[in-house]
């Protein structure tokens, strides 16, 4: 198939690019101390939080935007972004959520409605900067589980917030983390008490709706000793002409014998065939395995955004703790992704597994960046990394940058990498056996991703599969 035909076939394919027609309460673009005070006030925050934000802001002013990632984009004007936007009508109870928002979530397939809650998923939905609805919170409360928006947590659980927020990702960790610490507007807080196994999947759905706003959510999950939680995050945004910034921070803390499973399906608007209007996704995600034998596992399916800069990481501090990273990152159109993970082994007998699958099509550029760091006391540390790339067509690219720092010289580290190309010959072979082209591509792609999908909760694996099909539809000639 000729290249133009391929491009035509894929153009305008972003199926979630609708806008919710609701009134927004938005601050004018720009960032200064007054804006920060305004945001903090809007959110009824205590003074200590306002002060923390200002402290982060002063640090941010001294920091420089990083440019080491293998991505290219127009410079971002941080004074042209609006840092707060909320639906005007604030819902006081679940019944008061604007029906238009509910309808929008319906379109996204988010099970907000009562009947769908039977599926056993608790959902926190965030539109722009405000958490509009947290389902199931009451039931979870009976088990002592806290599942609420971060703003509520700041007001209602200050001790937990003071103890754990910024403990994994310090406010000056990097440029985007500092910006987030300054202006974060919402996000989710989860606390699982000692010995409790959270009986349902917890989910947050983020959506950027207002024009020219950034979304800066902040998520904090604390799993106390011997507890378990599986948390899922999904994202989308309407189509725009201008790129929007998304700079989130996620912090996870697992105490002794606790386990956190964090899954992401990221489907922000990728922009048009030249990347115009796509979301800039600069995210800092880090988990701290603080206690012995704790475990943190990241699974991500990244199909959206025009630029993705994201390295979910694990700090394996507790002896015997385990870190895992399973990733499928797709870049098509003009998308660029620089993603990977860091596994920092500090405790003894810590182990980590990295499985990264990058898929590139059309003009997509996919980079894997992985760091495995073994501290000097991390006796018996083990890491296994596998990093595979799949290329569809000849204009895309895949790059891998694995780094290893071993201070212990006792560690067992294995790294494997492969690059495969879907060739026309392979597609033709499958088609000659009566399998149509779309199915032929998805067979090859799913075969390639199955080791990662196996780690997603069942329902999300199904979503990931169809999302992948949608994303790659028409990208093969």
């Amino acid at each position: 198939m000729a290249q133009e035909e391929i491009d035509k076939a894929i153009a305008g394919d972003y199926k979630l690019g609708f806008e919710i027609d609701i009134e927004q309460d938005t601050v004018p673009p720009g960032l200064n101390e007054d804006v920060i005070r305004f945001i903090s006030k809007k959110k009824d925050e205590p003074d200590w939080m306002t002060e923390l934000r200002l402290k982060a802001y002063r640090k941010w002013l001294e920091m420089e935007e990083p440019h080491w990632a293998n991505v290219e984009y127009e410079p971002i004007d941080y004074q042209a972004i609006s840092y707060f936007s909320a639906p005007k009508q604030k819902p006081k109870s679940l019944d008061e959520v604007d029906p238009k928002i509910l309808e929008a979530y319906e379109k996204l397939g988010i099970p907000l409605e009562e009947q769908k809650q039977l599926q056993g998923i608790a959902v926190d939905a965030v539109v722009d900067s405000v958490s509009v609805k947290t389902t199931y919170a009451d039931e979870l409360k009976k088990l002592g589980i806290i599942f609420c928006s971060i703003s509520e947590a700041i007001r209602d659980y200050p001790e937990l917030i003071k103890k754990y927020m910024f403990s994994v990702v310090p406010m000056n960790d990097n440029f985007y983390a500092a910006l987030n610490s300054t202006v974060f507007t919402d996000g989710t807080f989860v606390y699982i008490p000692k010995g409790v196994r959270c009986p349902m999947e917890l989910s947050t759905y983020f959506r950027i709706n207002a024009l020219n706003t950034g979304q800066f959510e902040r998520t904090l999950i604390v799993a106390d000793e011997g507890s378990y939680v599986s948390y899922n995050e999904g994202c989308s945004a309407p189509m725009r002409d201008d790129s929007q910034l998304h700079a989130a921070v996620v912090e996870l803390v697992a105490l002794k014998d606790a386990e956190i499973k964090y899954s992401t399906i990221q489907n922000w608007y990728p922009g048009d065939k030249d990347g115009k209007g796509g979301i800039y996704n600069f995210v800092t995600k880090r988990g701290l395995c603080l206690g012995e034998n704790s475990k943190i596992s990241w699974t991500q399916v990244e199909t959206g955004s025009v630029i993705t800069w994201k390295y979910p990481s694990c700090i394996l501090k507790g002896d015997g703790s385990v870190g895992e990273f399973y990733s499928v990152a797709v870049t098509t159109l003009a998308q660029q992704a620089d993603t990977g993970t860091k596994m920092i082994h500090l405790g003894k007998n810590t182990s980590s597994t990295i499985i990264s699958k990058g898929i590139s099509a059309m003009k997509g550029q996919n980079s894997y960046r992985g760091l495995v760091k073994i501290g000097k006391d991390a006796f018996g540390a083990r890491n296994f990394s596998e990093c595979d790339s799949l290329l569809i067509g000849s204009r895309c690219g895949a790059h891998t940058f694995p780094y290893l720092e071993d201070k212990s010289s006792h560690a067992k580290v294995e790294h494997e990498a492969t690059t495969t190309k879907i060739s026309e010959e392979q597609l033709f072979y499958l088609r000659q056996r009566g399998i149509d082209e779309e199915n032929a591509v998805s067979m090859i792609v799913h075969g390639f991703c199955k080791d990662v999908f196996a780690h997603l909760p069942m329902e999300y694996a199904v979503e990931a599969r169809s999302l992948l099909e949608l994303t790659l539809e028409g990208s093969v000639g």
């Binding site: 060739s423 088609r431 399998i435």
Partner: protein, 249 residues
């Protein structure tokens, strides 16, 4: 009755002219053999029939069961019952052979309005057939053709043929690279499908396989054209005298 009629076919790869006015008729229920020198255009002909993207048809028609198929997508031709065993089957890493086979079989069943086979039903059938061909069952669990030996690939092509039960079967050098046992197994597979209705087009350089599958008609393809058509006795003549005496007439 003819199942396939190819008329005045001109086909190019890039700007290279390969088939130059080829005419060929294949009768229903018969085994046709095509022999001819290297580079004559035998594989090109088979690829033209199944709609390979490399081949540009400049002129002529390919009629299958009364329908001109030259504009059809490859998968449509396949679903209508045309099967090509490739001279060099491609490897598809990551896709399990069994999963691929089942998808292909079910695509065909769906097309024919039959119920799709579930995993267990399919696996039983696939194992049975693989066993008949003397294939190691582990080949079903491996990635499609990946790291298969030459002979294993050819057996796997035969396995697909047996499971898909096509009406028009093109075998492009199915016999090359096979050991004696494999040649016998593959031939038995082919004979199993002979039912007086299916049409076979066997492309080969050697008479060996023709000891097992008795040909009805033998054609010689040389320089992009069919230059001779005769009965099975032609094979012996060609073995003795080569192709030099044919064509250029």
């Amino acid at each position: 009755m003819n199942m396939v009629e190819i008329k005045d076919l001109y086909a190019n790869i890039g700007d290279k002219k390969i088939l130059k006015g080829l005419n060929l008729e294949l009768q229903e229920g018969k085994v046709h053999v095509i022999m001819g020198p290297n580079g004559a255009g035998k594989s090109t002909l088979s690829k033209a029939i199944v709609g390979h993207y490399d081949i540009e048809i400049e002129n002529g028609s390919i009629v299958y069961k009364g329908e001109d198929i030259t504009e059809l997508e490859p998968e449509e031709r396949a679903l209508k019952g045309i099967f090509l065993s490739f001279q060099n089957p491609v490897e598809v890493p990551g896709v399990s052979n069994a999963y691929f086979l089942r998808t292909a079989v079910n695509a065909k069943r769906k097309y024919e309005g039959k119920e799709e086979l579930n995993a267990a039903e399919f696996l039983r059938k696939a194992k049975e057939t693989a066993n008949f061909l003397g294939m190691k069952p582990e080949l079903l669990n491996r990635s499609l053709n990946e790291g298969f030996s030459g002979g294993e690939k050819k057996r796997n092509e035969t396995l697909q043929m047996l499971l898909l039960e096509p009406d028009f079967i093109i075998l492009d050098e199915i016999d090359s690279g096979l050991d004696i046992d494999a040649l016998r197994a593959v031939s038995e597979g082919i004979n199993k499908l002979k039912d007086g209705k299916r049409t076979f087009l066997v492309i080969t350089h050697y008479s060996r396989i023709l000891d097992y599958i008795k040909p009805d008609v033998v054609h010689v393809l040389k320089d992009g054209k069919i230059v001779k058509t005769a009965g099975s006795e032609l094979v012996e003549v060609l073995e003795k005298e080569g192709y030099a005496a044919l064509g250029e007439s």
